[in-house]
């Protein structure tokens, strides 16, 4: 089944063609440079850029896959979770495509897309597993019972992990996005030189909190001359604290649920230190750990198409009155055909 995926939930205009688990094309027009000047994502600027880019991105998706629109069997689009103005552009385009091609339309929750980034990257990914999905917009732990069946275990109570990276980077005078900037600077620092808190580190919930950690960094620097600050050590210490909390919470959830595998996905899953610590810790706990291929870590439409394929196979389909919902809970497939 050839599925066109469209994803515009934040600042990437993306389209992809996925055919039975094979990614034929995965086009992403990033707006990062545009938003870097503001030190963060400006929703109106993002929405405008999506309208500018969407036609070219879809055309490039077909051209690079050597496919024609008429060959598409269904259109999948991120319609839940993200910036409303951004979501609206992708959903408008997807609805028009599906209507013009007379094929089914399926709306996908952005988080479900990220879950599928790993399922798509590793067809042998064991089920059930615990998925940590972490980016600039969200941080969530999910029990993936099977594709389409989820239990959200916990999420961030304040900032997303990637958002904390962005804010600390801005505070330290580094570039946007903050993740890569802090990761680079941290290479020259000692992660143990500075003691920072592990918010909710000892709590038994699967929830996260990063705003206190952010405040701890700010307080530590307060009243000191910027030139005298050990910036590399601060970056390394901050990164270490975030990674520590993400890894320990994920392992705790995996142990509690008795799964054998952990899936780490989302924009922050590209962080080398996060991958390193997970890769060291998981085998010690008898767990396998999986990360998406690099082009599926950040927002992309291949993951959306893959999620759409599973839902369509289960008989789910969205109507042409599909709406965009900025903050919607992640839901399982309502009535899997095989189960009811």
């Amino acid at each position: 089944m050839l599925i066109l995926g469209i994803e515009t939930s934040c600042d990437e205009t993306a389209a992809a063609l996925v055919d039975d688990g094979n990614v034929l094309s995965n086009v992403i027009a990033s707006q990062i440079d545009l938003h870097a000047r503001f030190g963060g994502i400006v929703p109106e600027v993002a929405s405008r850029k999506h309208v500018e880019a969407i036609g070219y991105v879809i055309r490039e998706t077909f051209d690079s896959a050597g496919e024609r629109p008429a060959a598409v069997d269904a259109v999948a689009v991120t319609c839940r979770y993200g910036l409303i103005g951004s979501l609206i552009v992708g959903v408008s385009a997807a609805k028009a495509m599906a209507y013009a091609l007379k094929v089914p339309l399926i709306g996908i929750h952005h988080i479900e897309g990220h879950i599928f980034a790993n399922i798509l990257s590793h067809p042998g990914l064991p089920l059930p597993h615990v998925c940590l999905t972490v980016s600039g917009g969200h941080t969530m732990l999910i029990h993936v019972e099977e594709p389409g069946r989820y239990q959200v275990l916990g999420g961030t109570l304040d900032d997303a992990a990637g958002e904390a990276f962005d804010k600390i980077a801005k505070f330290l005078g580094l570039s946007f996005p903050g993740g890569p900037a802090i990761e680079r600077l941290a290479l020259a620092g000692d992660g143990a030189a500075i003691s920072l808190p592990r918010p909710l580190g000892r709590s038994r919930t699967a929830d996260f909190s990063f705003s206190g950690l952010k405040t701890a960094v700010v307080n530590m620097c307060q009243g000191r001359d910027r030139g005298s600050l050990p910036l590399a050590d601060i970056a390394a210490g901050f990164q270490e604290a975030v990674v520590d909390v993400l890894v320990s919470k994920t392992l705790q959830a995996a142990r509690r649920l008795g799964v054998t595998a952990v899936s780490v996905t989302g924009g922050v899953s590209i962080n080398a230190r996060l991958r390193e610590v997970f890769s060291e810790a998981c085998p010690r706990h008898g767990l396998q750990v999986f990360f998406p291929r690099p082009d599926l870590c950040t927002d992309n439409a291949a993951m959306v198409a893959a999620a759409g394929a599973v839902r369509l196979r289960q008989g789910e389909e969205s109507g042409l009155d599909l709406n965009a919902v900025p903050n919607a809970p992640l839901e399982s497939i309502k009535c899997p055909a095989k189960r009811c």
Partner: protein, 239 residues
Amino acid sequence: MRVLGIDTASRTNTIGLIDADRVVADFAWDARDSSLQQIIVNIDLVLKRGGLSLEDLDGLAVGIGPGSWTGVRVGVTVAKTLACTLGKPLCGISSLEALAHQSKTASALLCPLVDAGRETVYAAFYRVREGAPIREGEYYVGSIAGLTDRVREPVLFLGRPAYLHRAVITSALGPPARFGSPSDAPGGAAFALMSLPRFAAGQVDDPLSLVPLYLGESLAQALLRRREAEARGGRAPGS
């Protein structure tokens, strides 16, 4: 020529269908019922009423604003995508020109107004030449008072904001100010009819690059522009 007209830039969203100079169907709904949710459903409704399918169309016309930034993106994105996917020509038409077109038999200078929020309006002046409104000067974004300051001759004010602010406009301009009916908002079919001479003249828009006519920037963009201009030691244009 069969043309589908789409406009989601203002509070009344419309889809219309014309066959040559005949209006086959014209449908409107309130944008508060969701432009995004309703647009394809209503395109389907209008086409079915006309007994046509998308493939039967010879072209698409779309309102590109100014108006609601979020709203106009729905219509423009849908129209672009339909035009690209079906290989049909596309024509983008400004909301202000469409309003002026409703009064194209008037001899006065026309000034269509569209609400821009926060007590401001989008506007422009049009003079009818050979049955078509031609814009004179630049687009205007600002207060009603700033707009009336620019008036030097009798003007026919059009659009809902003109009707709502008619007392202010009349007190500033006196008798030279006249007003169109608040109910003369152009429907989708009007946009489609306006596109006919353009299609005939080959004045089509590239569906890949077509974007809304915003006539304004986000607050963040404006702040950044001002800051960058200050850093260069000058004043930002328009600030």
